[in-house]
Symmetry: C2
Subunit: 416 residues, 2 copies
Amino acid sequence: MRKVYEYPKSRAAFERACKIIPSGIYGHQGPAEGCYVPVEAFPLYSSKAQGSYLWDLDGNKFIDYMCAYGPNVLGYNDPDVDEAAAKQRRISDCTTLPNPVMIDFADLLVETVACADWAFFAKNGNDVTTCAVMTARAYTHRKKIVFFKGYYHGISPWTQKIDYAGVLEEDVANNIYVTWNDFDELQEAFEQNKGEIAAVIAQPYMHGNFADNELPKEGFWKKVRKLCDDTGTVLIIDDVRAGFRLDMAGSDHYFGFKADLICFCKALANGYNVSALCGRDFLKSSVSSLSYTGSYWMSAVPFAAGIACINKMKKLGCPKLLIEKGTKLKNGLVTTALKYGYDLHVSGVPSLFYLRIADDPTLMLHQEWIAECVKRGVFFTNHHNHFINASLSDKDIAETLEVADEAFKVVRERHS
Amino acid sequence: MRKVYEYPKSRAAFERACKIIPSGIYGHQGPAEGCYVPVEAFPLYSSKAQGSYLWDLDGNKFIDYMCAYGPNVLGYNDPDVDEAAAKQRRISDCTTLPNPVMIDFADLLVETVACADWAFFAKNGNDVTTCAVMTARAYTHRKKIVFFKGYYHGISPWTQKIDYAGVLEEDVANNIYVTWNDFDELQEAFEQNKGEIAAVIAQPYMHGNFADNELPKEGFWKKVRKLCDDTGTVLIIDDVRAGFRLDMAGSDHYFGFKADLICFCKALANGYNVSALCGRDFLKSSVSSLSYTGSYWMSAVPFAAGIACINKMKKLGCPKLLIEKGTKLKNGLVTTALKYGYDLHVSGVPSLFYLRIADDPTLMLHQEWIAECVKRGVFFTNHHNHFINASLSDKDIAETLEVADEAFKVVRERHS
């Protein structure tokens, strides 16, 4: 049996943090959001990271399947990306005038992403989803935006829920919410809001939290694309989370359609801080018409990192490679679960798989199993999809399956 | 006479950029926004940067008084900040769990900034101004926000103007605009919106574009502070632009009052991508109540850079040092202008001085003079404040005055 981890140093650091940082750690990287349940099973701070691995403050080593919630696509501290970034840093980073590496990065995205005639850069996924919505409103002179229930498009007030703290009814007054994969309902929403819908914004498939991830139904995207075309509505794909883990040409391309605007962030530069909005020619002057910029949006180092990251993903054969690794892991996990009589549901594309033990609708059993994995060095989480990175080895997958096996065994014995 | 710069390579790069980036270069770093007038006088791309200097693609060297619009506070590529950042990068940057350097940075800000009982980190100034406004609304359960005309608080829809592209009336429905330095008008706005005002948001003094910058009138801030206290209104200081160039303890401290929330970005980490919201204890749990995070917000490298930047600013005696350098430059410029019979107005705090030749209300003369300075290697701009960095030397200031002299001479001869 493996050593079961404990986290006294992480706990001490968290206590210290809580005094001077709201929530100690905020967002889904912290314990408040409910991905780390039971919280005692999880380390809260890392001391270092390399490739697929993360070490916590107590010296415990983890195979990390959260990948910084996406940015780690090649492996932490990838030498090629880091070298390109360091080289650019010696020249310049955040200066009064942009470095032409910005144009090179735009060039590469236009060459890589199927729907991209141009690229616009910012810092957060939220910056580019907001830019996309404003662009659609500027272009159509309409107000309303259609969302699919279960969506996440960032943290600006317009994309939050009315019952969330600090959000006003005015912020979300022009939002229309429809059921994912229900084309009839979408069509009805268009009927009821004729000539008023500026955009449909959607993730390429429903990879929300606290629910099995749902791929698009056969023909769904084709019908949505046609409806948008017929009504002059802008189709925005939020590829912040899934981008480059389904298809280098964009997740719209993976599902056989063409977005008007597509939003990238996470996997774009292996963790260097940059996001991008790409889109079709007819919307370019609408983007230009916006008043939209930021202090660090033309920093050169993340552009150099992004170029190195995209080129290396291509060279390695990502995202096919990531999907293969994820499929191997998924199959192994399902088989291991069955060995102990558990029905493990794995949903979503395997490069960003979502896990749920289906035997217990309260999810308590699932949480117990996840906890036993984490405490033995496999960093899964409960109610969020996971991420595969290119440095994950067959040995890592084999070790993960050993840990999963031991964790299932512990849970089965506890409940027998 | 000095060589007059030309920019063929910058122009070629811009042409290339225009094909694949909306506006070629967007925001105030690009020619579309009107700071670079006449645009022919300005280079548009940089090839490298070091200390106070920027080189363009054509090999022309500039003393750069825009400092990346603020982030360059110690000098480009500051060795101490870069070393601290590189050291952290070898350990980890953007990972699943934060590195405790995040807590160290929060600690340092709480120790440094007078009104800070806690710190919250993000990527853009806009992230933290938005967080501040949402926090005020969550805390007060009120909707309205008071702005001072001439403000800039970022690019989220709530802080834009109703006639800007992509902005809806709903976005700005709860905004109240009053005249800077007019306490009676502010008081009247409070009377007319009794019990409805969540926050007053303001820069520490009016450092808007296209107008002389205006310091607060004697007693103004004290009265505003009292009005907020009496009405339970949150007082937000947007110190994104001025932060650490007036006072290490915050620009509210410089003007003798205490903000409830204060927003930092630009000078926080010498160009490494990080922003911070700091504030008083009574608002900490309201920040925690928000759903507010981002992919890169816990990246460790910018935190390490921020710690090194703040410690070095303190060691060098910033911002006193920056104000002294700015004062020396300002006095020299005014004297040089007088020599040619021009009345150069220099407004704002000298560490972020604003220039205007007052002899011509159309500002054409001013633009001509700025153009002649830029073409001789002094990077000023027309309708935006400038920034002093700590690496600016006496020799740089002397050379700036020589260029300014020659530029005044050229303009005077042209108009005589």
